[in-house]
């Protein structure tokens, strides 16, 4: 392998790619060639780095300099200064929100500093399309160990001892699940990797698939060995074309190297993996629905029992784990259960990847040890709330998780505490909300999603979520009454208790938690017909500060032109007025007034 003095790791995760990472990469390569540096400096495309909020980004090794928000225009200057002259360009570095000085080194950026990478261990460090780079980072040593030195029972025992819990949401003990599948009577067994990540705003699985596909393959091969499966499936959603491509490349490479297929490592153990594209139904992330989809049926959940470990794909015992769980397996095997079990809390071991989004300075993917306090994630890694606003709540666990209020900011994050707070771990979505967020609107937003994604099989979920959404919409439009709150609560509880699958059982969580922690907001919507956060426009009253309109804006009349209902009247250089009887509260006047003369109450 030809040595280079510097390697430029261009993030080619979906986030950065959509912001133009490939154009930046091409520009970099051109520029390097032009400067005659192609024998010294190499450009490598990696998977997602996690800090997606500032992409396209570039990490220069060996110095570890982190460049953000790159455009093709920046490239010539960057190459000349840094790679030719050796002067890192401060202008393109990350500057923390409250600081003036840029932080040049990736390892010193707050966002990265507090993370602990296990599932994401290779992100940004290896080329995901090159198996040798994965091997160079101790890849497939776990597999070698598992196949050559361990019995299936020992592998299962190791996973059990590590106390790894399923990262898909429910948090079932992975080792126990493996054992159940292994003990099932049928000889034919399957394992499935659930890569149907459907939570809006969450993309940890995609990131792992894009940056380190081999870690999943390795995990699955070890799992297959332990369980006794002959065939594995990866159910990946069609919306992840890049992840899909890299996965297929990885499978081809693994087959070429004899790590997949017949007689792996000459141990007589054979295993193959097939990739199955999903068509993007949220419910297919539910394991029984996923199995239906894999069988070619409608992606609908089936009643459990029987559980997939006994009666899964085509009736055979099937073990389903999600991407992040599989990615943890190789490290647990190669470094041992004891090492892993030391990370995290009593009942939740290891690390968890969260996708930190919403009203937060540093959006991106973070992997942190279990038990970390919410505060550390939001204020430490996340860099706090933008514009100095107040933190209000955080929604964890995707659209069917719950909202955790600021009063619980010191809550340690693990499966049990989140559940106790009315939310859940889910697959690791984390949506941060500031004081400008209306919690009723938030609940309505998430219900819109779950209602839309309900498969419609069982009536509580199909009809229940629809009527829950109806009631919430009613409330946000100021048409609610206090009986609605009882109906909302009662129906939410019944849906939660009686829905067929996880989608329905968790769909009311946003309502129940917001009602628990922010009941006053609901009451304000109903009793006072006011939205405290001024988000629900139907409840707002728009008026014009006449003095400001004249003195600042000289009666410019933009609002008048913009008003679709012609509710605003006035003349040039005189104060304008809104006729409240005609006003439909669309908020257009508020959006266009440059002088702050339109007031929302």
């Amino acid at each position: 392998m030809k040595p280079y003095r510097a390697e430029l790791m261009v993030c080619a995760g979906t986030g950065c790619v959509s912001n133009g990472a490939f154009q930046v990469k091409d520009a970099l390569e051109n520029e390097i060639k032009e400067r005659g540096l192609e024998n010294e400096v190499r450009v490598v495309t990696t998977g997602c780095n996690g800090f997606c909020g500032v992409g396209p980004l570039l990490v220069v090794h060996p110095d570890g300099i982190f460049y953000q928000l790159l455009t093709t225009k920046d490239i010539p200057y960057l190459v000349e200064e840094h790679f030719l002259k050796g002067r890192p360009v401060q202008r393109l570095m990350y500057t923390p929100p409250e600081d003036k000085l840029p932080v040049p080194k990736m390892s010193e950026i707050e966002f990265f500093k507090h993370q602990m990478l296990i599932a994401l261990r290779n992100r940004g460090i290896i080329d995901p399309e090159n198996i040798e780079e994965y091997i160079a980072r101790d890849g497939y040593t776990g597999l070698a160990k598992a196949l050559n030195g361990m019995t299936p029972e020992e592998i299962i025992q190791t996973v059990k001892d590590s106390k790894l819990r399923g990262r898909g949401g429910a948090g079932f003990q992975t080792g126990v699940k493996w054992e159940l599948t292994r003990k099932a009577k049928e000889k034919t067994k399957y394992i499935v990797c659930n890569a149907d990540e459907g939570d809006p705003g969450a993309y940890m699985d995609r990131s792992i698939l894009e940056s380190d596909p081999h870690s999943i393959l390795e995990g699955m091969i070890i799992g297959a060995r332990a369980i006794g499966a002959q065939q594995g499936f990866i159910y990946i959603r069609h919306e992840y074309p890049l992840a899909m491509k890299r996965l297929l490349i990885a499978i081809d490479q693994a087959k070429e190297y004899g790590l997949l297929g017949d007689n792996i490592f000459d141990t007589g153990f054979s295993f193959d993996i097939q990739v199955h594209r999903g068509a993007g139904a949220f419910v297919c992330g539910e394991e029984t629905a996923l199995l239906s989809a894999l069988e070619g049926q409608r992606g609908e959940p089936r009643p459990r029992p029987p559980y997939p470990v006994e009666h899964g794909l085509s009736g055979y015992p099937t073990n389903i784990n999600n991407v992040e769980t599989w990615a943890n397996i190789p490290v647990i095997i190669s470094r041992g259960a004891k090492w892993y079990a030391e990370i995290g809390t009593e009942n939740s071991k290891g690390t968890k990847v969260f996708s930190l989004v919403g009203k937060i300075n540093n959006t991106g993917l973070v992997e942190v040890p279990m038990g970390i306090k919410l505060r550390d994630i939001i204020y430490g890694i996340g860099g706090g709330i933008p514009d100095g606003k107040k933190f209000k709540a955080v929604q964890t666990g995707g659209p069917s998780g719950g909202c955790i209020p600021d009063s619980l900011i010191d809550l340690p994050i693990d499966y049990e505490s989140l559940k106790e707070a009315g939310s859940m771990m889910g697959s690791g979505g984390m949506v941060v909300m500031d004081e400008d967020t209306c919690m009723v609107d938030v609940a309505r937003y998430f219900l819109t999603f779950t209602c839309d994604e309900s498969c419609g099989k069982c009536s509580p979920c199909r009809d229940g979520t629809k009527y829950l959404l109806d009631i919430l919409t009613r409330i946000t439009e100021g048409k609610g009454n206090m009986e609605d709150l009882d109906l909302l609560e009662g129906l939410s509880k019944v849906v939660k208790e009686t829905a067929l699958c996880g989608l329905g059982q968790t769909a009311p969580n946003p309502i129940l938690t917001t009602m628990k922690y922010f009941r006053d907001e609901y009451e304000s919507h109903i009793k006072d017909k006011k939205c405290p956060a001024k988000v629900c426009r139907q409840l707002n009253i728009y008026t014009i500060d006449e003095e400001r309109c004249v003195t600042e804006g000289h009666g410019c009349g933009v609002c008048m032109r913009e008003c679709p209902e012609k509710a605003i009247t006035g003349e040039k250089k005189k104060a304008h007025k809104i006729n409240q009887e005609i006003c439909v509260k669309c908020g257009a006047c508020y959006d266009v007034c440059r002088f702050g003369a339109v007031i929302v109450e």
């Binding site: 030809k2 510097a6 002259k85 780079e133 160079a136 040593t141 190297y257 490592f265």
Partner: protein, 127 residues
């Protein structure tokens, strides 16, 4: 290609070590070539290529080669700084290709400072 064995894994790992060492930023030695305008004018590029050639031909995995801007001593360019793990950095000045080879051989590989080319032993770092 034929199937690989666990032993092959180690071989591949070794082979790819160079790049991963770079990315982990943890080499035994680090050579900084000062490539400010002055350095380039004085022939730092030749020094750099000589250095790269050494690294390549000797197939060393644990030496990081990097660049920096002007070190402020423009009259003595081309100039490099060699840092060995746990040792203070050494600056070499007025370099030629031949000198570079000797420094690589003696200092980088074997740990003996080449006093005749050295400017001084200092504590400054590249960044």
């Amino acid at each position: 290609m034929p199937k690989i064995t666990p032993k092959d894994l180690a071989r591949i790992r070794e082979k790819s070590r160079q790049s991963t060492t770079l990315r982990e930023g943890a080499g035994r030695a680090k050579v900084t070539v000062h490539m400010g305008t002055c350095g380039i004018a004085a022939g730092a590029r030749d020094i750099m290529s000589a250095l790269m050639k050494e690294v390549e031909s000797r197939d060393v995995k644990d030496v990081l080669v990097t660049t920096s801007g002007c070190a402020g001593l423009c009259s003595r360019e081309p100039m490099i700084t060699v840092e060995l793990l746990d040792q203070p950095p050494i600056k070499y000045v007025d370099l030629t290709k031949e000198k570079m080879q000797k420094i690589f051989e003696d200092h980088v590989m074997n740990g003996n400072i080449v006093n005749e080319y050295a400017l001084a032993v200092g504590s400054e770092r590249a960044h």
